[in-house]
């Protein structure tokens, strides 16, 4: 049994007051010893005191707010801890390369991504989601949470114009930082949704490698391809003389060297994006253990109800009280 406000319990001795003090309104009688002993009367007198004491006791207990402790029940379900890392650079507001075919010419990449990810989040009931957006630097939006409304609202809020830079390193480290604060449930995924890529320093690369490894996180990279841009799966691509590899291919090469899981997708229209997300949905279906909190029972209202009952009984007896003695 726990109490919300423990100090109120110090008032508990007050409940003994009716036992110690006598009732003030009392008639004088010349000689009570002359009245014969009456067991029922004595019982009634005792009952009055006990009722009053109990009423006070339950009121004080009610004020203290008794409840049982919240219980944690371990449940096994299918789901994962997923951090959505979404690119908010200005190029995300452009339409897909395959816009003419999909018939949704007006839908920008970010809008499509938001729509599909909203569906994805709605499908997965047991998952914990976190969210980070990034453009020139990472923006910590929502830590890993089970609250559906919060994450859907966060996804909804991720729209709007962004900047022209793509700082992938910062986005990834911020996203990985979320896993550090939450215990591992068995299945962890980082969904990186971006168009194009940026370069990362070797320090950032090393840090990300370490963290992915240590936290056992699978990385899913969905590249929303520009029309006519180079595919990251193009093994044959040779950059022009004296030019470095394009950043997306370089990043792909780097991701492939990760020891933890990595799965790239390339989407140039909403359908292929949906397919990629479906694939992630399928893959991240390992059973996970998680603790569900069952709130404790609150006994406050019970206490007050009992006190009310006692007071009602007292009032009932009060009605029986002699009003006209003579």
């Amino acid at each position: 049994m726990l109490f919300n406000t423990y100090w109120v319990l110090f008032l508990l001795p007050l409940a003994a007051l009716p036992l110690l003090l006598e009732r003030t309104h009392s008639r004088t009688y010349s000689w009570t010893q002359l009245l014969p002993r009456d067991r029922l009367s004595d019982l009634m007198g005792l009952l009055l005191k006990i009722l009053a004491a109990l009423a006070l006791l339950f009121i004080i207990l009610g004020i203290a707010g008794p409840h049982t402790a919240a219980q944690k029940v371990e449940k096994v379900g299918e789901g994962a801890q997923i951090v959505l890392t979404i690119d908010r650079s200005a190029s995300m507001d452009d339409p897909f390369s395959g816009a003419m075919i999909s018939g949704r010419a007006g839908e920008s990449k970010s809008a499509a991504a938001r729509r599909l990810i909203t569906d994805f989040v709605s499908q997965r009931k047991n998952d914990m989601f976190g969210m980070v957006t990034f453009s020139n630097s990472a923006m910590y939006v929502m830590p890993l949470t089970q609250s559906r409304e919060a994450i859907l609202a966060a996804i909804d809020a991720a729209g709007g114009p962004g900047l022209f830079q793509t700082n992938i390193g910062s986005g990834l480290t911020t996203a990985l930082g979320m896993f550090a604060k939450t215990p591992d449930s068995g299945s962890r995924a980082l969904v990186l949704l971006s168009d194009g890529a940026g370069r990362m320093g070797t320090d950032a690369q090393q840090k990300i490698r370490d963290w992915l490894d240590r936290m056992n996180v699978t990385l899913y990279w969905i590249v929303l391809r520009q029309p006519g841009a180079i595919s990251i799966f193009d093994e044959e691509y040779k950059p022009p003389e004296d030019q470095p590899l394009p950043p997306s291919i370089e990043l792909h090469q780097y991701f492939k060297t990760l020891r933890s899981g990595y799965q790239p997708y390339e989407a140039d229209d909403p359908q292929s994006l949906a397919l990629a997300i479906d694939d992630i949905n399928r893959k991240e279906m390992k059973p996970i253990r998680y603790m569900e909190q069952i709130p404790g029972n609150d006994f406050t209202s019970h206490c007050f109800a009992l006190a009310a009952l006692m007071i009602a009984a007292l009032l009932g007896i009060k009605l029986l009280e002699v009003k006209t003695w003579r």
């Binding site: 309104h25 009688y29 009245l35 009367s41 002699v322």
Partner: protein
């Protein structure tokens, strides 16, 4: 209390007073009375006004005889009043108001027949401030009765009855003992023993609200007037009957006890009537 409203009763005593002051009561004092006691020679009682000629002629030894009479004397009248907590009980009337009425009546009745009147109040002990010295000038007593009617006693007992005899005169007096006698019988018996020298008339003040006029049904919390102890009473038919029975038993027990001391008690329950007291004296005291 205005004198016109004071009820007067007549009283007599069944014994001979030794008081020297002339009064209305049978006396053992020789004097100018109508109470023929016998003859004495003129030599030993030289009062030629009372020569009994018939007795003198009949005497073969030619002695001159004189008739001897006893005078009628005054008898001190006292009211000994219980001032304990239970006397503060007010039912249909406050008991102390009735006690004040009795006191005034007794003072006035004594004054009318030239008897000295005194008042002794007691609770746990005899209260010096509730004392009125025996006197034929009774106006002080009337002032005292007013004080008495307004008195509110605290939680206090009535054990002072034991000491009342020390404040009474040596000569036999008429003592109206006003109390409700709500004390244990053994204690009362002990105290009454100290008053045997005097002619005691116990006036027992009970109130109908104490037992006969109890509520039919209900719960009441009561405080004892004398000890301050509390009790809760759940009044109902059965319990009321038992209370009535307890008071009936108490009444017969008190009557039995007082009769053992030859002090027939007078119960006063519905206000004081002086005629009741007059009747009491006619009934129990042979003139």
């Amino acid at each position: 209390m205005i004198e016109g409203q004071i009820k007067e009763f007549t009283y007599q005593i069944g014994w001979r007073s030794r008081g020297r002051h002339p009064g209305r009561h049978a006396s053992a004092q020789r004097g100018l009375g109508m109470d023929f006691r016998g003859h004495a020679p003129l030599i030993s009682y030289p009062d030629p006004r009372r020569i009994d000629i018939r007795q003198t002629i009949r005497d073969p030894f030619d002695q001159v005889w004189v008739r001897i009479f006893n005078q009628r004397s005054a008898v001190p009248v006292f009211v000994a009043c219980d001032l304990s907590g239970s006397m503060g009980f007010s039912g249909q009337m406050r008991k102390l108001e009735i006690a004040a009425e009795i006191t005034a009546s007794a003072a006035y009745s004594a004054f009318r027949v030239n008897d000295p009147f005194g008042f002794i109040g007691f609770d746990e002990q005899v209260r010096e401030d509730w004392m009125f010295m025996s006197s034929t000038k009774v106006h002080g007593a009337f002032e005292l009765t007013e004080r008495l009617a307004a008195h509110r006693p605290g939680h206090i007992g009535a054990a002072g009855l034991n000491d009342v005899s020390q404040y009474l005169p040596r000569e036999r007096s008429l003592v109206l003992l006003v109390s409700d006698f709500h004390t244990p019988l053994e204690q009362l018996e002990r105290h009454l023993g100290s008053l045997m020298r005097h002619h005691v008339v116990p006036l027992i003040l009970w109130d109908a609200a104490e037992y006969r006029n109890l509520p039919e049904f209900g719960i009441a919390s009561v405080t004892d007037c004398e000890t301050g102890a509390r009790r809760t009473l759940f009044l109902r038919k059965n319990f009321r009957e038992r209370i009535l029975q307890a008071f009936d038993d108490r009444r017969s027990a008190l009557e039995k006890l007082f009769m053992r001391f030859d002090m027939p008690p007078l119960f006063i329950e519905d206000g004081f009537e002086a005629d009741d007291l007059t009747e009491y004296f006619y009934q129990f005291v042979a003139a």
